[in-house]
Amino acid sequence: MGKKIDIRQARNILYPRLRFYNDQFVFDTVTGSFFRLSPIAGSILKSFANGESETSLVAKIQKQYGVDRATIMRDLELFINSLLANGLKENSEGR
């Protein structure tokens, strides 16, 4: 099992380093990686990285897509986990 993701910590890592180009393209200034995202993923990541609270983000997704809170929380963790695995790794500056 991987280590438990601390969403607040992940946000602190992501916020200063991500640049968004419309809702579907994100560039990581630290690793130089860039990703094309689905419109839903892009919108969630942008809100998340820009500092929207977890509660507000979950409520927004719940309202928009009619999914239960537990599923959203799990999906959010998996999403952040996959970003970290794709190279959006914490650097020592953020520790």
Partner: protein, 369 residues
């Protein structure tokens, strides 16, 4: 009477499929100083930069003996060139020639020629055969590497590191090999081309990063730019890159430069496995072939280098903005067999008009259209 222009000599003029840095250095210099006289020092009449009529155009070119011939023939040739040219600074751009030029620093100084080069000790520590030991001694992450004097020790090293692995030449080239047969073939080719020793290096899968800068010889970095390679050629050369800003990488390079007390331009190459550390692959004792990219973003390191040496001044250069990217774009330059003949027979070639005259010609063409 006008003062004579500052004259800078540059090597590494070929911009083929594995481009040398000289052309990019010249372009950077001309971006800041339009009235420089640029002399090309060339090892081959087919170096493409000899025929360029663009911003990297030369005012004159002189042939040099191959670096492997050693210091006396180089000194003798430079002495001949100095009879025709008052050179203010030489910027060597090829790994294989740097040590010869370092050995000639006192002679060049006597002749009024400036250089900004690392010490013999720094060069030795970053040399391919010594680099892994240097990294291990100083706790800098690097791939597992073994230096092999002959094919037998290379085969043993390959067994230990397991296939696939990289086989690298003393100065240039590295090839991924998957079997003993491939290893033997690559080793033969590299030994024929560059001589021994050869290096066996563990193959690491990851993103590749380059970091270029100027060391001040006292352990500090004057200016820098770091990129992730976006496109890589078969020989591992970056054909496109994007600026990054990674504080971890910056700190690692600062430690390496400090340890080496590096003087002059450098390029460091790293590989970073997913969720791993940057591992140092090599340190090149010169500007990279992409050095005109940061210059176009306002971070003109070749211009800073000559200001540091000729004016004793250091202008603070801006950092390159993450997200700016370059893609290499090959073009065809036109030459004439007469120019090739001149270079091949006399070892000297002079431009028909200077770079500023060439610009005037372009403007006139524009007007008549």
């Amino acid at each position: 009477m006008n003062a004579s222009p500052i004259t800078i000599a540059v090597t590494g003029l070929h911009r083929g499929d594995n481009p040398q840095p000289g052309g990019a250095v010249i372009r950077s210099l001309r971006r800041k100083f339009q009235d420089l006289r640029i002399i090309g020092l060339s090892y081959d009449p087919l170096e493409s930069g000899l025929y360029s009529a663009e911003m990297d155009q030369l005012d004159a070119a002189y042939s040099l003996p191959f670096p492997g011939n050693g210091i006396p023939p180089l000194k003798e040739r430079l002495e001949t060139i100095f009879q025709s040219e008052k050179i203010d600074m030489i910027i060597p751009c090829l790994d294989s020639e740097i040590e010869n030029f370092i050995s000639l620093i006192p002679y060049l100084r006597e002749r009024g020629v400036q250089t900004m080069l690392p010490s013999h000790q720094s060069i030795k520590l970053r040399s391919k055969p010594e680099l892994a030991q240097f990294c291990n001694d100083n706790h800098f992450p690097c791939p597992q590497t073994k230096t092999c004097a002959d094919i037998y020790s290379l085969l043993e090293a390959a067994e230990e590191l397991t296939y696939p692995l990289f086989i690298k030449g003393k100065f240039y080239e590295g090839h991924l090999v998957n079997s003993v047969v491939e290893l033997r073939h690559v080793a033969d080719e590299l030994l024929k081309m560059w001589g021994g020793p050869l290096l066996a290096q563990e193959a690491i899968v990851g993103e590749e990063y380059c970091y270029t800068g100027i060391g001040d010889g006292r352990g500090n970095i004057q200016s820098h730019c770091s990129i992730r390679k976006m496109l890589v050629t078969k020989t591992g050369k970056g054909f496109a890159g994007i600026v990054i800003n990674d504080p971890d990488l910056d700190r690692l390079v600062e430690r390496i430069v400090k340890e080496l007390a590096w003087n002059g331009p450098f390029e460091m190459e790293f590989i970073k496995p997913a969720n791993g550390q940057h591992k140092l692959i090599e340190i090149n004792p010169r500007f990279p072939a992409w050095i005109d990219f940061p210059s176009q973003l306002g971070c003109n390191m070749p211009a800073q280098l000559i200001e540091m040496r000729l004016n004793n001044t250091t202008t603070k250069l801006p950092l390159c903005e993450p997200g700016k990217m370059f893609i290499r774009h090959s073009i065809d330059v036109v030459g004439d067999i007469a120019e090739l003949a001149e270079m091949a027979t006399k070892g000297v070639w002079c431009a028909r008009h200077s770079y500023s005259d060439t610009e005037l010609t372009y403007s006139e063409t524009e007007v008549t259209k």
